[in-house]
Amino acid sequence: MNPDPLGFIFLDAAIINNFVLAAFLGICPFLGVSAKLKTAVPMGFAVIFVMTVAAVCTYAVNQLLVYLDVPYLRIIAYIAVIASTVQLVEMVIKRFSETLFRALGIFLPLITTNCAIMGMALFATAREYGFMQTVVYGLGAGVGFMLALVLMAGLREQLELSDVPSIARGAALTLLIAGILSMAFMGFAGLGS
């Protein structure tokens, strides 16, 4: 068991070791879906949702793997379990709440197999978090992802009208902003330790 308090775990996942800006996981959706706030916000909620679901089910699967003494199956088992659980939950949402399903839309299946989700599950296992700790860690990771995504989307919307030189247009500018944001998040390094 890891002795860290829940509040610290949340802040650690969301800000101090932000998944996108400090651990560099989940860069693909971060760059791809951050052009508009309108898409960034639902994507952020979808990530929070999937992270939390993944945290719950990988914790259970890990208990099973440890019980059966087959820890080397962890990665493949996590992939299968996260993907299938999210699909299952998506079906349930579609059946019971059409509005929520529309809001999350394409984003749910899009991020199911993302490395940020996988990384969260593996980090939580490696740090030997208990059940509540794992859930809070997943939630924090999702909130951190959303924070980075929303900041990025705001900046990109602001820069839409600016006269960016041709060499820096498009992906280059996005990566430049990501780099500066990442430098800004370096200020939180070592927080609380």
Partner: protein, 351 residues
């Protein structure tokens, strides 16, 4: 009663008054920074002067060369590159190697400004982008401090200033010992307070007799220069006011909770780069929100994050990161704090 010779001059309306232009504002920012530069040179001597000149020259030259290479008219006449260069130098320690300062200037202009589309499009404060780059690249050099008021500081530079590019900076320990100053710990007041629980007197912090970055030591001079800019309407007073108020209130709250562990709020206010950052960097016209309420939110965010990084982070000072983060958040703050259009109803659905 003596005869006075006052003449009343009458002119017919409309009275046209020239609006403030960017070059005028930027030139005034430069004037406002000159007393700070003068005090830095007075405290730290030749090295400070060389560092100021190197950073400014690097910024202005980079701006000029890029404009020429891309076939645009050169924008260095608007003084904004000079402002960036001076600000960058003011945040660096006095013995900072000159080549690193020049590199920081180039990075400030290229990565912080030109690639975003030049002045008016830089979503981050360019000087702070350069400073953050230097902090990440040269963490030791940027935290090596030398004491102020050393003998012979005007004729002899600090040896680490003249480090050749890509070589390890020359150690200043021997230099400081040779100059006959006793008990210099190589720490700024903020680091001494946070890591060694050594308080510094508030008067020293206010008048600037402590060690630190070039421009951060004297709160008094920075305040006077800030009041000048605010009085001329070239800087919005709300942003520094919000930062001072938030760090004072947050600091005061924790100080009343536990005065033994948490420093005095006046200390938090006067120490480190808070004053310089709040007055000259957070108030960057481009990278800060435009609505009055948004400015308060922005300032409070900077103050709170600075307090958190100072008290709980691995670094003694956090104002730079706080401003960069708030710069990143300012488009969102602007969107969320749009003032009500005159005549429209509050919370109308058409918004």
């Amino acid at each position: 009663m003596s005869q006075n010779s006052l003449v009343m001059e009458l002119r017919s309306p409309p009275h046209v008054r020239q609006a403030l232009t960017t070059p005028v504002i930027m030139a005034n920012v430069v004037y406002a920074m000159l007393p700070i530069c003068a005090f830095a040179v007075f405290s730290y001597g030749a090295s400070a002067l060389l560092l100021l000149m190197t950073c400014t020259a690097a910024c202005v030259l980079t701006e000029h060369v890029i404009a020429k290479a891309s076939g645009n008219p050169t924008p260095i006449g608007d003084y904004s590159a000079a402002v960036t260069g001076i600000l960058l130098a003011l945040t660096l320690p006095p013995g900072f190697p000159l080549w690193m300062g020049a590199l920081g200037g180039v990075v400030s202009i290229v990565l912080g400004k030109t690639l975003f589309g030049g002045l008016g499009c830089n979503v981050f404060n360019p000087a702070l982008v350069g400073r953050a780059f230097l902090q990440a690249s040269f963490p030791v050099a940027i935290t090596t401090w030398t004491p102020p008021y050393m003998d012979g500081r005007f004729v002899q530079g600090i040896p680490s200033s003249f480090t050749l590019p890509f070589l390890e900076p020359i150690s200043v320990v021997q230099f400081v010992e040779d100059s006959g100053i006793d008990g210099f710990t190589g720490a700024t007041p903020l680091a001494a307070q946070l890591f060694e629980q050594q308080p510094t007197s508030l008067a020293d912090l206010f008048f600037g007799t402590t060690a630190g970055s070039l421009g951060e030591t004297s709160a008094l001079i920075i305040l006077i220069c800030g009041i000048y800019l605010a009085a001329r309407g070239m800087m919005n007073w709300r942003i520094p006011a919000a930062i001072f108020a938030s760090i004072f209130l947050v600091g005061g709250f924790f100080y009343t909770l536990n005065p033994d562990v948490n420093p005095n709020p006046f200390f938090m206010l006067l120490s480190g780069g808070l004053m310089l950052g709040a007055v000259f960097m957070a108030s960057d016209l481009v990278a800060s929100p435009t609505s009055p309420f948004g400015m308060w939110v922005y300032g409070v965010l900077i103050g709170a994050v600075t307090y958190i990084i100072r008290m709980y982070g691995g670094l003694p000072e956090g104002i730079m990161y706080a401003i960069l983060l708030a710069n990143a958040a300012s488009p969102l703050i602007d969107q969320l704090t749009q003032p009500r259009t005159y005549g429209s109803r509050l919370r109308s659905k058409a918004a």
